[in-house]
């Protein structure tokens, strides 16, 4: 299936304007992993409130989110990403259930690796206080030292280890 994507520079420019709008209107950049954190905090808070209250991580985050972790900026923003991504899929006729993988691995292996990769990303984003959107991209826009270090570490590591994982993709 051949599908047409926007010119990457044009898309980058529009993404930059979106990020700029976020900074100008709300004073903060874009993000994604923060919504994962909110979801985890909300789930643990509901399922095991005593455990959440006893843990420094959960209680501090609950306090920061005014005891209502799902009523957070990033949660709404990520809901928007779902809607926006879906609309784009409709417009460009790309709505299909499918698993994308390299030619040399099976579907189930791909799904397993996606799960592991997601877990690593989730873990890493907590250490770095943000992911590719919140730390690297938004950090670059406001020229934050930490954000730019994280960006370099993500891409640097990716290139450094790409060879060992080539069977997953090529």
């Amino acid at each position: 299936m051949k599908t047409h994507y926007m010119n990457p520079y044009a898309a980058g420019f529009l993404l930059g304007l979106t990020l700029l709008a976020a900074i100008v209107i709300t004073g903060r950049g874009l993000g994604a992993s923060g919504a994962l954190k909110s979801s985890v905090v909300a789930t643990v808070h509901t399922v095991a409130p005593q455990h959440a209250a006893a843990s420094k991580f959960y209680s501090e985050n609950l306090k920061a989110l005014h005891d209502n972790p799902l009523k957070a900026w990033l949660v709404f923003e990520v809901l928007g990403v779902v809607i926006g991504g879906f609309l784009s899929g409709v417009v460009s006729d790309r709505l299909t259930f499918q698993t994308e993988r390299g030619p040399r691995i099976s579907n189930s292996a791909r799904l397993g690796f996606a799960l592991i990769g997601g877990a690593l990303f989730g873990l890493g984003s907590q250490f770095a206080r943000g992911c590719t959107s919140g730390a690297a991209l938004s950090g670059m826009a406001v020229l934050s030292t930490g954000g730019i270090i994280t960006m370099a570490a993500i891409f640097g590591t990716g290139y450094a280890v790409a060879y060992f994982f080539r069977k997953l993709w090529i």
Binding site: Y5, P8, A11, G12, L14, L15, T18, I23, V24, I25, G27, R28, G31, S33, L36, S55, F57, A64, F76, V78, G80, I83, G84, G85, L87, G89, R94, T96, E100, R110, L111, A114, L115, G117, G118, L120, F121, G122, L123, G124, F127, A128, R129, S133, G134, A135, A141, S144, T145, G146, G147, T150, A152, I154, T157, G158, Y159, V161, L168, W169
Partner: protein
């Protein structure tokens, strides 16, 4: 003027803004092809450099916008969220995410976008992300030390590297353009069917030249704060610009009168301010004049703001800076606190007093000396006013 949060946009409205910005974010990500893990992973194998192109272009666009809006004074860069720098966390987290990227083929934002159009691998990635955050949360006591290590503040890269904002911006743009050229060459070799196939060399060359020119412009746009502070640190500027002065006698009279149209602004260090200042004075150091929490006090047009410091020169620099920022109805204490102390607080009769005016002055100063000393004593006993509660913009991922 900007950002609008938290002054003009309430918390509830801000969530609607979040949703709208998210929709734009998701739409653009999907249009760029970021819903496809194969496309994303291509950046590491050279068959598709879309990630680098989109990412760098977006970063350069937003950065340029922040610098330009900051320069013309529309965006208060002191008030936007600058990601804090914790060295170990930034590096370790980045390395772990690098592995996550190559193994999982997505990052959190793009995985949500991919899941939205039905990519099953993206849904697994999102699930994995939740597990990863959960693991961090449960292991937090173990991770806390390294997570909190080496906090360097909300520092900016150009300060860390000891260069100006403009120089760094230009460097970043040049690096971006060189990367665009190199990666397009590599991609054409690795994958003849890659996205670079559709590029029009002419328009791309034009765009490349355009953003380098933009970088050159940015080079000459210092941060507004940097620019204004630079202006008033120039002795020539201070000498050639005048600020209204207020004599010690007038200030003393107005203090004793309880004049509500007067606001004393003490620009000395907190320590000096704490040890002794004038009654009703507020402590705003020269460097703090930009801060948003003081706009209310300094912006009251009907009140005369009199800047006080040890000497008149320091007062003048602060007042000129305030004037450049846009505040009105300012003046400085003539001769600084040194003269005020000598002529009022520690007033001693000097020589002969003969004219009517000299007699009046002597009578006033003798009276004011004791009265103001008393007021200072009283105001020192009063607990210090709590600093204005200020809502900071929250951020982070």
């Amino acid at each position: 003027m900007f950002p609008l949060v938290p002054d003009l946009i309430s918390d509830e409205l801000n969530l609607i803004v979040a949703l709208l910005i998210g929709i734009a974010f998701g739409f653009v990500l999907e249009q760029a092809g970021f819903s496809s893990s194969k496309k994303l992973a291509g950046v590491f194998y050279g068959y598709d450099f879309t990630v680098i192109r989109v990412f760098f272009t977006a970063g350069v666009t937003a950065m340029s916008g922040v610098i330009i809006l900051g320069y013309i004074g529309w965006l208060d860069t002191d008030f936007i969220y600058i990601n804090p720098t914790y060295l170990e966390g930034a590096i370790l987290g980045g390395v772990i995410m690098g592995f996550g990227f190559i193994i999982g083929g997505y990052c959190p934002g793009t995985s949500v976008c991919g899941a939205a159009i039905g990519k099953i691998d993206a849904m697994f990635f999102v699930g994995g992300g939740l597990i990863g955050v959960f693991l961090f949360a449960e292991g937090y006591p173990m991770f806390e030390n390294i997570y909190m290590a080496s906090f360097l503040g909300n520092i900016r890269i150009f300060n860390s590297l000891g260069m100006s904002q403009g120089v760094f911006a230009l460097l970043l743009i040049v690096v971006a353009v060189v990367t665009f050229i190199m990666t397009t060459k590599i991609e054409r070799k690795v994958n003849a069917e890659g996205p670079a196939k559709d590029f029009h060399p002419h328009s791309h060359r034009l765009a490349g030249t355009g953003i380098i020119l933009l970088g050159v412009v940015l080079l000459f746009l210092p941060d507004r704060k940097e620019r204004l502070v630079g202006k008033v640190s120039d002795e020539n500027f201070v000498q050639t610009h005048s600020v209204q002065t207020m004599t010690s006698d007038e200030l003393a009279f107005r203090i004793l009168d309880g004049d509500h149209r007067l606001q004393i602004v003490d620009v000395r260090d907190g320590k000096e301010f704490d040890s002794a200042s004038l009654p009703g004075a507020i402590n705003i150091k020269t460097g703090q004049l930009f801060q948003k929490e003081f706009t209310e006090i300094l912006g009251q047009k009907h009140r005369k703001k009199v800047f006080i410091a040890a000497d008149e020169h320091s007062e003048k620099i602060a007042a000129l800076l305030a004037q450049e920022i846009g505040y009105e109805n300012l003046c400085v204490l003539k001769g600084g606190l040194a003269e005020f102390t000598a002529s009022i607080l520690k007033y001693t009769k000097l020589g002969t007093i003969s004219t009517r005016e000299e007699i009046d002055t002597d009578r006033f100063r003798s009276k004011a000396s004791g009265a103001i000393a008393l007021l200072i004593k009283e105001s020192k006993n009063k607990p210090a006013k709590p600093a204005a509660l200020i809502k900071k913009v929250a951020g982070g991922c």
